[in-house]
């Protein structure tokens, strides 16, 4: 690591902190009635998908394991979070048809003795459990399937996600998962606020963005570690990597479990943002969308995945809205611009990226590479 690298790292940290401060500021300024509130929705959903996309990129882009089980791990995360945070007073209304098996909620347990700080601690604990639950499932499923080669692995993990979805909807597990009914009433983003000197400080966008930022920062550290480099070696040539003394099976498992941990956390965040958790939402279409975000941003670039998912969410939720409701960029054509047209345009854009700009927005570079002087980049290419 050279000195310029250190400087660059500090710059990156500074930018991230400024961004977080900006989000906190916007959170106070933009009310739900404001027309710019769409920006906050995009930031909330975008941060969920950004973390999901980065964790998928960790597998597909940095390890070369083509896994399509993401929706399954997110489902586990969402349910784990919901189950452990539903307040005991709402349990009976949520579990209408079943006798709830889990009768406690972490935020309540801790807030009883520690006050508001306990609530926060309880939520953090539930989010961690969401990640851990996904990681444990990933370990169990990884034992048999990680031996498989590229496309077989893809289809096996896809199948696994479908199995998980069915298990969580099974009526016999109703006391835990509420069967095919949805889970609700748990702490969601709009409940994150506190009073400071008589003013209510709202954190509904700040919290998801903060969680995503911390997790993505952890992933960046992981990728840049020695471990990270051995993963890249596996991606580029499995056989050569093994010959260099990298324990293939162990490394693949570590990466699979890590990636699933963060997928679980993003699932928990998804539950917070949408304020419901329902197994039927986590279809393979969700995995495909996340994969397309990764491709849009560039496979093998973390900042690319973040940009890709923010663009994906912003385009589909906000910028292209007009395509669905009759007028877009001042063109009035209610017959063409009707429900669903937005998604058609959107998928055509994605196909164009997939076919003609295969590297996506960032390729395998990071955003910090853009500050580097041009003359250095050929040297970097040659060094690969």
């Amino acid at each position: 690591m050279t000195k310029t690298n250190h400087k660059k790292n500090w710059l990156a940290v500074l930018i991230v902190l400024l961004f977080l401060a900006l989000v906190l500021f916007l959170d106070q300024k933009i009310k739900p009635t404001n027309s710019m509130y769409m920006l906050m929705t995009v930031l909330q959903k975008g941060s969920v998908y950004a973390l999901a996309a980065v964790s998928m990129n960790l597998l597909n882009g940095y390890t070369g394991l083509f896994s399509l089980g993401h929706a399954g791990f997110m489902l586990i995360g969402a349910y784990a979070y919901a189950i452990f945070t539903i307040p005991s007073s709402s349990r009976d209304t949520v579990y209408q048809y079943y006798d709830a098996a889990v009768k406690f909620s972490f935020p309540e347990i801790f807030s009883a003795s520690m006050g508001p700080a306990g609530t926060v601690l309880g939520i953090i604990l539930a989010v961690l459990i969401a990640g851990l639950a996904a990681a444990i499932f990933a370990y169990l499923i990884g034992l048999p399937v990680l031996k498989l080669k590229s496309d077989y692995l893809a289809i096996a993990t896809l199948g696994f996600a479908e199995i998980i979805r069915a298990v969580f909807q099974w009526s016999k597990l109703g006391p835990v998962t509420n069967g095919s009914n949805l889970l609700k009433s748990f702490p969601r983003t709009s409940t994150f606020k506190f009073k400071l000197a008589g003013e209510t400080i709202k954190l509904s966008t700040f919290v998801p963005v903060l969680i995503a930022t911390i997790c993505i920062a952890l992933i960046v550290l992981l990728v840049n570690s020695t471990y990270g480099r051995s993963f890249k070696a596996i991606r580029d040539d499995e056989i050569a990597a093994e010959a260099m003394g990298i324990n293939l099976a162990k490394h693949k498992m570590i990466r699979f479990v890590t990636s699933s941990f963060f997928a679980g956390v993003s699932g928990a965040m998804m539950a917070m943002v949408l304020s419901i958790a329902q197994a039927s939402n986590f279809k393979s279409a969700m995995t495909y969308e996340i994969l397309l975000m990764v491709v849009l941003g560039g496979i093998g670039s973390i900042s690319g995945s973040v940009i890709g998912s923010l663009l994906f969410v912003a385009a589909s939720e906000w910028w292209l809205r007009g395509l669905d409701s009759g007028s877009f960029l001042g063109i009035e054509a209610p017959n063409v611009f009707r429900n669903g047209f937005r998604l058609v345009v959107f998928s055509i854009i994605i196909m164009i990226v997939v076919l003609f700009f295969r590297k996506g927005i960032m390729g395998d570079r990071e955003i910090t590479d853009l500050f580097r002087k041009k003359s250095k980049s050929p040297a970097k290419e040659a060094g690969k």
């Binding site: 496309d151 077989y152 289809i155 479908e162 669903g340 994605i350 997939v354």
Partner: protein, 308 residues
Amino acid sequence: MNFFKVALPYIISGVSVGGQYALIAIGYTMVYGILRLINFAHGDVFMVAGLLMVYIAASFPLFVAIPAVIVLTVMLGFTIERVAYRPLRSAPRMSVMISAIGVSYLLQNLALYITGGLNKNYPAIPWISDRVTVFGLDTTRVTVITPFLTILLVVALVMLINHTKLGMAMRAVSKDFETSQLMGIRINSVISATFIIGTFLAAVGSMLYFTNYPGVVPTSGGMPGLKAFVAAVFGGIGSIPGAVIGAFIIGICESIIKGLDTILIVNGVIGEQIGLATFSDAFTFVLLIIILVFKPTGLFGEKQTDKV
């Protein structure tokens, strides 16, 4: 005896569903055999064939609609290969697979836009949607003829592959891409032919499949598509008889699981409904993981070793 009496309707409908899966599975297995590509869009092509039938049959008589649907679906399959897969021929396998997922996403969204997300009632095709009685069981004629039609089509296909020049070219290309190119086989036309055959069978399959279901929605293709793919893997990907046998096994198992609660209750194994029908889709994937772990090449697949 009691067991069979209760299970019979499920087995019969399972054989029928299996036949329909088989017709889709062949498209997967042939494409995989040649391009080593999981054509994720194949299930959606199947769904589009269903929608085309709904729209065309609304304004034309069936003897026009049926051939028109088949021709249009085949054209769609051909176009997808031309536009989305051919430019990526030399790209890494992952890119092609992503492109296939992109096509699937596009087809689903297009269908969503055109139908407005509403369920479209599938037209009743005379004769095959008539009700008949088999083994004292009331069902539609399509349920009965599907397995026979499937086997007929498969026999024709196997003849084509084993006894014609095109079939020989296909076998050569699936064995070794580069060498067959050097031997003067026009790869592109062989691949196009593969897609045409695959989508033709999917179009026929969609007519048989949707006749037994209330209607077509944009996501109708996803599950049958995935299951057909699992059938192809189960039978040994690249092997046509394997895909057909796999599809029948999966169809029958799935159908039995749908009725497993009832079957078990009648036989006194369990006392009440325990909702095992939830697992009728998931079971397919359990089967997939089991077969991949214990025999990754499937029932009839050839052993392949990776060359360094």
